[in-house]
Symmetry: C2
Subunit: 427 residues, 2 copies
């Protein structure tokens, strides 16, 4: 990196890896600090993951929920954005290794997040894509829309094409299952001549004994009831033991389904391994209470890459966007304290509550003492998500897309795109 030699620069160098919630908010929180910041990401955009399922379900466009990282820091002149892939941290020498360069750091914040985990069954991934990137979302959109085309093309084999299985009953799974059903019931209802899309089945399969397992039980029950009222076939305490190109084994039952979505598990980014610190089963870095790693009080790990604990009871910090934001800000705060000659402080996670939406005008919300469901939860969900979107244009366009979809029952991004061979139903 010709532009940031530590010898020339007087200010301490903070290197942040990852432009998700953790990294983005860490860099922002350093805007008035006397530091040089280098933010490394392998994508040119910050992605608002909580709305990614709406790209997969053809409501939003990719650029509605993504924002160029460079543009986010246009006016914050102490931030230097580097589009590159971080390969390894060399703690001895205090450098971050990229593909071909390396960057020396005084402080390091790792926020590279997590990707899908198939729990040792990576061979399932071609049949059951996960939802982590824009490309994943467009692939799922393609599969869902093409499934209806395939059913129209071959009405005799329609049943398996009109069966959609979502594996995993967390917020993404719940939201996707609701969205699949509404595509079939509303958006496509009158568009076909040989099949009736309204006959589509959606199954939500969860290994645990309830959906939204991290929410209060009362809200899990309400979410399940709302899903079932929509028409989703919810199967809890059911393990998926096999996935192939024609269906899944769920418990003892074989379900013929051509479209399967995987939302059941995540594993932390591989970058954490190079720290040499202990990792938990999901590959997350076991951080200390100040979010640093043992022996290196200038190396912070935040967001989904960290196995953090909070409070006197050392409760685990959940892998959600607000935790990543708070973690990023905490790391920035510690760095500012260090510059002022003070020490790191312990991270305290403030649980702002949990939200999930379940199809049209329904949802559940948990704000500790306040628990709501149905329409009120849905409106809260809309408001919070608009608020945390980066960029005025994104907020405006997402709001308008939602309004349009709500009133017309249509979806504005119903495109089958991709590589040529995948655009047509099988013959």
């Amino acid at each position: 990196m010709a532009d940031s030699p530590p010898t020339r620069a007087a200010q301490p160098h903070v290197v942040i890896v990852g432009g998700g919630f953790g990294g983005l908010y860490a860099a922002r929180a350093l805007r008035r600090a006397a530091v040089r910041v280098t933010l490394v990401d392998r994508r040119n955009h910050h992605l608002f993951q909580p709305l990614l399922y709406q790209v997969a379900s053809a409501v939003l466009d990719p650029s509605d929920i993504a924002f160029p990282i460079r543009a986010a820091f246009r006016r914050q002149r102490n931030v230097h954005v580097v589009l590159d892939e971080a390969r390894r941290v060399d703690l001895e020498r205090g450098v971050l290794q990229l593909r071909a360069d390396e960057i020396p750091y005084d402080f390091l914040i790792l926020a590279t997040g997590a990707s899908a985990s198939y729990f040792g069954h990576d061979e399932w991934s071609p049949y059951a894509p996960a939802l982590k990137t824009i490309e994943d979302a467009l692939e799922i959109r393609r599969r869902v829309l093409l499934a209806f085309e395939a059913a129209e093309h071959d009405p005799d084999g329609a049943a398996a094409w009109l069966t959609f299985v979502v594996v995993g009953g967390g917020p993404t799974g719940v939201e996707m299952a609701g969205a699949f059903l509404e595509i079939a019931r509303n958006s496509l209802a009158h568009d076909f001549r040989n099949i009736d899309p309204r006959l589509a089945r959606v199954l939500l399969i969860e290994a645990g004994d309830r959906v939204l397992g991290t929410y209060p039980e009362e809200l899990s029950d309400k979410a399940r009831a709302q899903l079932e009222r929509l028409g989703v076939d919810v199967r809890t305490s059911t393990m998926v033991t096999e996935i192939d190109d024609a269906g899944v084994m769920a418990g003892d039952e074989r379900i013929e389904a051509r479209t399967v979505l995987w939302t059941a598990g995540v594993k932390a980014s591989a970058l954490g391994k190079s720290l040499g610190a202990p990792l938990d089963r999901a590959g997350r870095v076991e951080v200390r209470e100040d979010l640093t790693i043992p022996g290196h009080d200038n190396v912070f790990v935040v967001g989904d890459l960290a196995a953090a604990h909070t409070g006197p009871e050392a409760r685990p910090v959940p892998g959600v966007a607000p935790a990543a934001i708070q973690g990023g800000r905490h790391a920035a705060r510690c760095i500012r304290r260090r510059l002022a000659g003070q020490g790191n402080v312990a991270f305290r996670y403030r649980d702002k509550g949990s939200l999930a939406t379940i199809g049209r005008a329904a949802g559940v919300a948990d704000f500790g003492r306040l628990r709501v469901s149905g329409f009120v939860a849905w409106v809260l969900w809309l408001t919070v998500h608009i608020f945390f979107l980066i960029g005025f244009r994104n907020r405006l366009f997402v709001l308008l897309s939602w309004a349009w979809s709500y009133f017309t029952f249509q979806r504005g991004a119903r495109l089958i795109t991709g590589v040529d061979k995948d655009l047509l139903p099988p013959t």
Copy 2:
């Protein structure tokens, strides 16, 4: 096709191939006719090609300019949409062959358009992509945005990364050249730290002696002047004789450029060959004055696939959207006449004028007696394009995107997306 056996159905069967302007308007013009219509396309969406360059230049999203063909005919119950690829026309038996099925027709309308032609140099296509599909546009967007990232990554080699060559001075070439320059000058101006994007060069290379060769000479001159005022290096009467991964040979000069766009030529869709009718040099079907082929007055060819002539002077019909719309409507009108016991009539192309936009708030327009340039032409261009977009949502979102880009100088779709290995600058 289980659903459309001619023995069961009493009404004549009109098969339309292609959901572009020609096919879409033909099907619409048959909405009150006592016919069954089958519309075959290999994509699930109608694409508004005249605005595709705005997807390539990160202003619009793909779904802003595309509309699901099924949704367009939701309420027109005599239209059956089939997502499939037409392989061959069997005139003897009166059937259209798809990948695995075949469809018998009473009337056939072919409107499969054209793709890029490299004039025998297909080996140039990886280095100089053309702009015909949504995937093409996203690929060009990726290359343009990544070029600036590569320059930032390697400031010493920046010159070739910051040189953009557009081959072909037709409307798409002129519009793209203006857009490239504005990305560099406005949208990205302050986003980099190692390079100044405003130093980017854009060259427009045209083999003929003027840009917009099909427009009146006066407007070609004005377009050239507007391009040069923007800062585009316009080279007319210049042949491109070589394109590789590092640049182009333009006349006698080697230009080092990492990003090249091809807008120089088109060839008609291969489906025309199976008709056995004479083809012109670009592979277009030489149709009779009623747009049918010799010996088959029930087989129409419209839009860019047809080499049609109009009027007493038999002037060639240009390959533009209004000509395709008029051709599609003409074919539908002939079919309605035939059902009423009358014969086909000759196609008369009504030239509604030509428009091109040149960057921000500039353009040229030719409406026969009325020729305007600059801001007025630009406003006309905006109005006409909004009017011909399919769907209220598309119109609203395109208008808002334009307004936002106009006032902020930003581009709302600045995403580098695609396959993993192509997302990072070379090391």
